[in-house]
């Protein structure tokens, strides 16, 4: 997923095509990183778009053969700070630089050799194992972008029951997806 190609690229600017490919290939990881720095924010997609715009504007300063992801993450980190500043939420979330680095490293490890489509496939397999009502509930929450209270009402649950049900389902999906991805990696 990352770029760091070797040497043959030398120290020249990336071509437009190379740059576009790197940008496209790293969108999922960048979004993951931004969301981890701003959990619960509805603006992560906008911040990713702003990051992309800055990356395009600064395209010439990127050198083929260097780490695109490291460079792009630094820009994303700045965009997150800019968002916090504009939103006047300097102290909103205390993810300091050290934790941001740890998060970035963890994402890199988790995504090494595992693309977004592999995750989607693993998730689809795991969802098939859910009980039908659980499958519908999590689909409703994500497909319809509903709040917990709206979901609770639709499924005739209390808000607390809805929350704990969603937690249970997602914990199960997490374990299942990790297990499937590990099996797939081992099988390679």
């Amino acid at each position: 997923m990352d770029d760091s190609s070797t040497s043959e690229t030398g120290n020249r600017p990336a071509t437009n095509e190379e740059f576009a490919q790197l940008l496209a290939a790293n969108q999922d990881v960048l979004l993951w990183f931004i969301k981890a720095l701003l959990p619960g924010s509805p603006d992560v997609d906008d911040i990713l778009q702003n990051t992309n715009l800055v990356l395009w504007r600064k395209q010439e300063s990127f050198r083929a053969g260097t780490s695109f992801l490291k460079w792009a993450r630094a820009v994303a980190r700045w965009e997150v700070r800019a968002w916090l500043s504009k939103a006047r939420r300097h102290n909103w979330l205390v993810i300091n630089d050290e934790l941001a680095e740890a998060i970035a490293d963890t994402i890199e490890q988790e995504s090494r050799g595992v693309g977004a489509s592999a995750r989607l496939d693993a998730l689809a397999e795991c969802q098939r194992k859910l009980k039908p009502r659980d499958k519908l509930l999590v689909s409703y929450y994500y497909q319809m972008s509903k709040s917990l209270n709206e979901c609770a009402e639709a499924f005739e649950l209390s808000a607390n029951s809805m929350k704990s049900t969603l937690h249970r389902i997602r914990a199960a999906l997490r374990r299942c997806v990790e297990s499937r991805l590990a099996m797939n990696q081992a099988g390679k």
Binding site: A36, P39, N96, L123, P132, L136, S139, Q143
Partner: protein, 524 residues
Amino acid sequence: MSISREIECQIQDLVDGHLDEDQQRVLIERIANDPELTRLYVSHVGLDLTLSKSMRFSPAKLADLRQTPPSQPQIVKALLASAAVVALSLVVLRLIIVPDPPPLATFRASPGTVYQLQRAGDKAPEPGSLILNEGDEMTLTQGVVELGFGAGVRGIVEGPAKVVFEKKDRVRMTDGRAFFEVPAAEKGFKVITGDLIVTDLGTEFAIKVGDGSPDEVHVIKGRVEVAPRGHAGSGKVLEAGHALSSLGSDLTVTTPFKGSIFLKHLPDRLPYLHIPGDMSDDGSIVVIGDIQGEEPIKARFLPGKSGSDALPTVEGRFGSAFKLTGQGDHVLTDWAGIGQDDPRTVAFWVRMNPGEATYDTACVVWGHRPQGIETVNRKWNVQVALDRETKSRCIVNTTFGGFWFEGTTSLDDGQWHHVAAVYTGQNLPSGMPDLRLFIDGKREAGEWVWNEPIDRKEGNVRVRTETRVEEGAEPLMIGKPLHDRNSFRGELDEIYVIAGALETEAVQTLWQSNRLDLAKPRKD
């Protein structure tokens, strides 16, 4: 170290944004000091993103649906908003032993949508419930509903529509239009129409039924199998880019493929068309809106006897406005209009000087008017014209063909006035169509006038606006009636056609702000 369920729940709350600042700080500190918790946090962020990606209906911004359930007492009627919901929901859930039938699907509706839901067994619908069960019946009076099912199957149903969930893997659709997107793993569900049985083979396809025409299937991706009802085994496989219509047992593959006219995502308002009175840089007439799905609607100027090369424009109420001279000059589109008794709203700004009005003209019109016959109810025409009785007052007249509603306010004073004609698709207790006229945001008094004989069924006057070209219908025109006399003279601006009946507040917003702002979806 084993991670407690409690901390994993807290991490999920953090990802969802459900913790307050203090709670976040405490948890973040724990995460920062524990690599296992860092990994768990990162995993849940990733899972949340992957779930969103796998389920998101549309890559575009999700509509602001403002769909909080109505607070008024629920009325137990069943209007099935979308056939798609029924079909899709049946496929998804297959429980083996259940004390109660499992839910089959969920749905959401665009603003301005009106629907009724009848539960199987006449059970009372639960307030705010957006779940559909086996045996439910939904009728969509107007608007659009999106259906969601557990395995990623979804559908978009445009009203008016009627759908019944017959069995877990079968839905019946007797009216309306619907688009279905079915992942390959879920192939096999069926949609039954009046004429056809459509079996999905892992695809995207659309269906159009009702309105007096043969049922149609359009395959957008993948394949479907189509068989005439009552003739099992005589079906054919239809591939992407092809369409089929039927009449009885005859399957003919001659229907032009029109996959683009079907909505594929939930709109953030009722389907609409807007001709703002502006011209684009290349001189073409600007037409906006999704009343014909992704298929653009074209409009062109026909000069009649005016001798103009181009459509004259003047400064309008908002931007530019069309100036028509009453010499047969008009705007012709390629959109067929809203047919039968489907609800609709037409709104526009008009300015006319004293003496410019004529009798029996047109501002916004479509449909069919057989030559020489004045009593056939096959058209829809909203006009600002002289009244029939005295031919001296310039009023708003909305006609369906043979019966029309005349307003009372004179409009030819050289000032801009906003006109809105709203037809709900229903009948009043008197049997006349429920038509509401608004002038400058205020409800207009008026009366019905008609020629005999008037077409009634069980006491109700029938509205049967024709949109089929093969039945003689003409598409939407601005400024020229369906006959060759008396075209419109005056200025027109911000012409809207909306596939639904606007409520008073929405008409007033359109008048005040030139913006289509709709009510939350309503269950009748």
